[in-house]
């Protein structure tokens, strides 16, 4: 036994016997259901690692089933096994949230490969989280963080159109966007991950890398540029020993340049977190930074 459980959804005794045999031979624990209601009951009862759906379930369209399971458990991999495969169905199944679409006649070794691949993906996530926890970095795989992210999404009514706002709030709370956080958001809001990834990398206020406890933003807007903003930035770079866009080794400061923070009358300006420092000279910088631990 390898401790992993697969739920098999099929109405055909033949398919059930064949697949169970193959899976059990590989050490998987197999549970099965022949009707949709039974299937959902199982889903509610026990912790599962993967769902294998055959397209022979009576009175149920395998695509609808995929959608419903995916909605309930966005992280649970679903593999569809088709007795009558078609490209159209393959495409639809993937669209509806399936991890993979297979023809029933596929060799056993390939089937096991696919299943291992699907489970590996899950394992990868877990390992990544373990790894982070071991290094005592902020870990968003913690249940707490998942809950925090969920409550942020709740504030936005789980509306997919609020993606930008959701990511902003997560970024504010956690200082940066982890891959897991993005995956979780994509699953929960029902937005394809590539789209979430595009948004997260398009906007400058998001960071996919850890950030310091304080953010130092030097204004290089026009007014600040003509009033010596570049000199201020260079001075800060020397002072902190990092370049704009980087974070100090002790994660105390992240340094960035921004374009106009809207107090051009005070140029040159730099901002630490939400404190504005206007009409600054290079000389004052070190003493200002001392106020931030």
């Amino acid at each position: 036994m390898n401790g992993l459980t697969i739920l098999l959804g099929t109405a055909s005794a033949e398919v059930k016997a064949k697949l169970s045999g193959v899976l059990q031979g590989e050490g998987y624990d197999v549970d099965s259901a022949g009707l949709a209601p039974d299937l959902f009951a199982r889903l509610g009862e026990r912790t599962l690692d993967l769902v294998l759906l055959s397209d022979d379930l009576a009175e149920t369209n395998v695509l609808d089933l995929t959608t419903r399971i995916h909605d309930l458990h966005p992280k649970l991999p679903i593999v569809v096994v088709a007795t009558e495969p078609s490209v159209r169905d393959a495409v639809e199944a993937i669209k509806h949230g399936a991890y993979y679409y297979l023809e029933a006649s596929i060799p056993d070794s390939d089937l096991l490969d696919v299943i291992a691949g699907a489970l590996e993906l899950e394992l990868e996530l877990i390992e990544e989280a373990e790894h982070r926890r071991a290094r005592r970095l902020v870990s968003f795989e913690d249940l707490e963080s998942i809950e925090a992210i969920d409550s942020i999404m709740r504030r936005h009514d789980f509306a997919s159109s609020r993606l930008v706002g959701v990511l902003q709030d997560i970024q504010k709370e956690m200082r940066y966007l982890t891959h897991d956080a993005l995956r979780h958001v994509a699953g929960r809001l029902g937005i394809p991950l590539p789209r979430v990834y595009s948004v997260a990398t398009f906007y400058k206020s998001f960071s996919l890398k850890p950030r310091g406890r304080h953010t130092v933003s030097v204004c290089l807007g026009t007014a600040c540029h003509v009033s010596g903003g570049v000199g201020i930035l260079e001075k800060l770079e020397r002072e902190l020993g990092i370049k704009a866009g980087e974070t100090t080794f002790d994660e105390r400061f992240s340094l960035e340049s921004v374009r106009c923070v809207g107090c051009c009358g005070l140029a040159p300006v730099f901002v630490v977190d939400e404190d504005f420092h206007g009409k600054v000279t290079q000389e004052e910088i070190a003493s200002i930074l001392e106020n931030y631990e």
């Binding site: 088709a82 993937i94 699907a118 394809p192 590539p194």
Partner: protein
């Protein structure tokens, strides 16, 4: 029906027909790169610029995304149009000097070596693969990452995407054709940096495609 003039001819087309479609039907050449008849046009490459005059106003528009307007006049070959095309194509060649289709277009349009330092990118960022994967395949496995000159076509986090069904459509429609199916990885579109590519036989057509 829309009736308008293109170069020296009068064309009649259905409402909503784009200037580009009208030109193609009439056999008038307008160069394109990011246009694909099966996909939504996005007007990204700007190679299809033409001159459009309507109600006393004249300007340049992208033919692939501009509907033909009744009573307007389109010119596809003015000195200004050629001047714009030349710069746009030079910019593209400077980005992707190895891409054959750009050199072919260059020959056709009389555009040679660009006056800029050459880069060596494989991807034109035309977005055809992204649109095909979303609109035709429905998998939406790849997308644009970052923005501006740093833009890239990638699966999320640049790692193999669980959404990719390895249909190979993206590689087939890519106008840059700098990669073959078995080497999809080389462009970093669908599989990021992994170089361990296995292929699997398609259930329907018996072709071998890469699998994720």
């Amino acid at each position: 029906m829309v009736s308008f003039r293109m170069n020296r001819r009068t064309l009649k087309v259905e409402d909503g027909t784009t200037v580009l479609e009208a030109a193609r039907d009439a056999g008038i050449y307008i160069p394109t790169l990011c246009y694909h008849p099966a996909l939504e046009s996005v007007g990204a490459c700007r190679l299809c610029m033409v001159e459009l005059s309507h109600r006393g106003r004249t300007g340049h528009v992208a033919a692939c995304v501009t509907p033909a307007v009744d009573g307007s006049t389109v010119k596809t070959d003015t000195p200004a149009v050629k001047r714009i095309r030349k710069t746009v194509l030079e910019l593209l060649i400077a980005r992707c000097p190895e891409v054959a289709i750009l050199r072919e277009l260059g020959e056709r349009l009389g555009v040679g070596e660009p006056p800029y330092p050459l880069e060596n990118e494989a991807c034109l960022l035309c977005g055809i693969c992204v649109r095909a994967c979303r609109e035709i395949v429905g998998a939406e496995a790849i997308g644009f990452a970052e923005r501006g000159a740093a833009s890239e076509v990638l699966p999320p986090f640049a790692v193999p995407s669980a959404r990719c069904i390895s249909c190979g459509t993206c590689t087939t429609v890519c106008p840059a054709r700098t990669f073959e199916l078995s080497k999809v990885d080389a462009v970093g579109t669908m599989h990021g940096d992994s170089d361990d590519v296995r292929t699997r036989k398609c259930v329907v057509c018996d072709e071998h495609y890469t699998s994720s």
